[in-house]
């Protein structure tokens, strides 16, 4: 019983984190039709930016109100979205819309390579530590087990993000316009939708979510170069499992991957590193386009 509970709790924590880092990827793919490898770099930039901001916050008397460091985390993600998002979308990606999907993967791979070094130029190669926000929420006791409260805050953040994205897409005017663009951007344009602006907005939202993932993770780890390399592949797996472009799919994918990884850590530690890809391969075996993929007519 304890083992099952442990696996579930660990799995949920990991799934929460996974969902935050992958929902932006699926959103960007849904709207722009670009599978963004640089998503991992945006995650890493978010982590660095938040480490810097939280550092500044505490250096300037933030100790009096330590809770303010959470605001600094979120502010960091917003800043990354406002600065890096438009540079990438307006400056580069918009020239590749409508090109071959795989070619676009290569374009973002180039961006990924560039950003890896740009991060080293800006933040150097030494690790950053910002542990304060991690310890603020204390410990949580579940049965015989202790968990760090911050981990549950990540689950809460994932739920808020998920609901936020879903409600925005399905319950607001703007979200419905975005859905229309996802469905048929050409038709939307003829109906008077400013499609380039939707693209920019979606990409900035995706950037914000990636950076938020990084910002929330920064207090849990030491922020070092190469942070984004592994994240992107895991996020890919989640998004592919759920079906590219589907927000509920990303949630299901994150849960499946999160729980199976937690199970493997506890039951079969040798498999920990590849269980994610194994799950993905199995899902694709039965649903070649992921669980929630929209069906598309074949063009003759």
């Amino acid at each position: 019983m304890d083992l099952v509970a442990t696996i579930l709790v660990d799995g949920l924590i990991y799934a929460g984190w996974l969902f935050i880092v992958s929902v932006g990827l699926t959103l960007v793919f849904g709207v722009l039709n670009i599978l963004n490898i640089a998503h991992g770099s945006l995650y890493a930039i978010g982590a660095y930016a938040s480490a810097t901001l939280v550092g500044i916050y505490f250096a300037n008397g933030g100790d009096a109100i330590p809770w303010g460091s959470y605001a600094a985390l979120i502010l960091a993600a917003v800043l990354v979205a406002l600065v890096v998002g438009p540079i990438l979308e307006r400056g580069l990606l918009r020239f590749f819309y409508g090109r071959d999907e795989v070619l676009n993967v290569l374009v973002t791979y180039a961006v990924f390579l560039i950003l890896e070094d740009v991060m080293k130029l800006i933040w150097g190669v030494n690790p950053y530590f910002v542990y304060e926000p991690y310890t603020l929420l204390g410990d949580v006791e579940i049965g015989p087990l202790f968990y760090v409260g911050y981990d549950f805050a990540v689950i809460a953040a994932a739920i808020i993000v998920g609901l936020g994205v879903w409600l925005t897409l399905n319950r607001t005017r703007m979200g419905k316009v975005v859905l229309a663009v996802i469905h048929d951007s050409e038709m939307s344009q003829t109906m008077g939708v400013n499609v380039p602006r939707i693209y920019l907005g979606a990409f900035m939202a995706g950037t914000f979510l990636a950076a938020l993932g990084g910002a929330l993770t920064a207090p849990m780890i030491s922020v070092t170069p190469g942070l984004g390399v592994n994240v992107i592949i895991v996020a890919f797996a989640v998004v592919i499992i759920g079906g590219l472009g589907s927000v509920p799919g990303a949630a299901i994918g994150a849960l499946m991957v999160g729980i199976s990884r937690a199970a493997s850590v506890h039951l079969l530690p040798e498999a920990e590193l590849f269980i994610i890809y194994f799950v993905m391969a199995v899902v694709l075996m039965f649903r070649p386009e992921g669980l929630f993929a929209k069906t598309q007519a074949r063009k003759i």
């Binding site: 795989v102 993967v105 592919i240 194994f278 391969a281």
Partner: protein, 312 residues
């Protein structure tokens, strides 16, 4: 085999062999590595002709390298021919197992599934401490049918070996590309459904291309590990595979020799940017890749074809 193909193959070999005489040691190593990786990339180019891009060719590169290393270390085999045959055989078997499965996937799903397979190998190897875990394994220098060269002679022999492999593989792939199946692949790239309606099986063609890619990956991996003397799970990591795709995109799917030219260009760009901008070589590489995608969307091969005025 047409006469012009025989002539080009002979010319390519003479040109490569001349390199053995004029290249300094460091460049010979660099070229040998580049050509070995070029073989892997040739496999990707084969798939690209059918519109598929494998983002996990590191799977076979790594599998070939590990097979050669394990065989060499366990059974004391050091003959390069035998090692190549054995590891290619293993890659062929694995390719035959996965090929038919992967052949029904397209576009991003094919890319991601092949990537998943290579990451499974990466994850397993990293955890297997009895074969070195993340540290990997060393392999002794190869022998050539009983001849055990050292120093410059070893370098030269390896270089010539990979040159021969490149010429053979390049020629065979050219024949495949121009064969009925190869042309079906090219047609499927434009419109798969039409090809199916005309009665050809795109699945079969994709399977062939995948299996050829597996074999080429195995050969490339074997030669690379013998040149380096060391293998680790990074061979199967996605960034390694990403580089192979990079070369394939740089080369384009139109010409076989351009694959090896592209592989050499990449190795040179990497070595020199490593030397001159040690902290920003990835930046240089990324910018280079973007320039290639913008300026030469069909790759280096399109330069040759454009001049000939031939649209295929």
């Amino acid at each position: 085999m047409t006469r012009s193909l025989t002539l080009s193959a002979a010319a390519a070999f003479v040109l490569l062999a001349l390199g053995a005489l004029v290249l300094p040691d460091w460049a010979m190593f660099l070229f040998a590595m580049a050509l070995a990786k070029g073989l892997v990339c040739l496999g990707i180019v084969g798939m690209m002709r059918g519109g598929l891009v494998s983002f996990g060719q590191g799977l076979y590169y790594c599998l070939g390298a590990y097979t050669a290393t394990l065989v060499a270390n366990t059974f004391g085999v050091s003959d390069i021919f035998l090692l190549t045959v054995l590891s290619t055989g293993v890659c062929l078997a694995v390719g035959l197992a996965f090929g038919p499965l992967l052949a029904s996937y397209r576009g991003i799903f094919f890319a991601m599934l092949s990537l998943a397979l290579s990451m499974v190998l990466y994850g397993s190897l990293s955890k297997m401490s009895f074969i070195g875990g993340t540290d990997g394994l060393n392999i002794a220098a190869p022998t050539f049918l009983g001849w055990a060269p050292e120093g410059r002679a070893l370098q030269t022999a390896l270089y010539l070996y990979v040159a021969v492999m490149v010429v053979i593989a390049g020629t065979l792939m050219r024949i495949y590309f121009d064969s009925e199946q190869g042309l079906i692949a090219l047609a499927a790239r434009d419109n798969e459904l039409r090809v199916e309606y005309l009665g050809a099986s795109v699945r079969n063609v994709n399977t062939y291309s995948y299996v050829f890619g597996a074999v080429l990956g195995g050969i490339g991996g074997t030669i690379a590990v013998l040149a380096l003397g060391h293998v680790d799970p990074e061979f199967a990591f996605w960034t390694t595979s990403g580089e192979f795709v990079f070369v394939a995109i740089l080369a384009g799917y139109l010409s076989v020799p351009s694959v090896f030219v592209a592989a050499i260009i990449l190795e040179m760009v990497r070595s020199f940017s490593n030397l001159y901008f040690p902290n920003t070589w990835q930046l240089a590489l990324g910018i280079f890749l973007l320039i290639v995608i913008v300026v030469l969307p069909d790759g280096l091969g399109s330069l040759v074809r454009r001049r000939k005025g031939d649209a295929t």
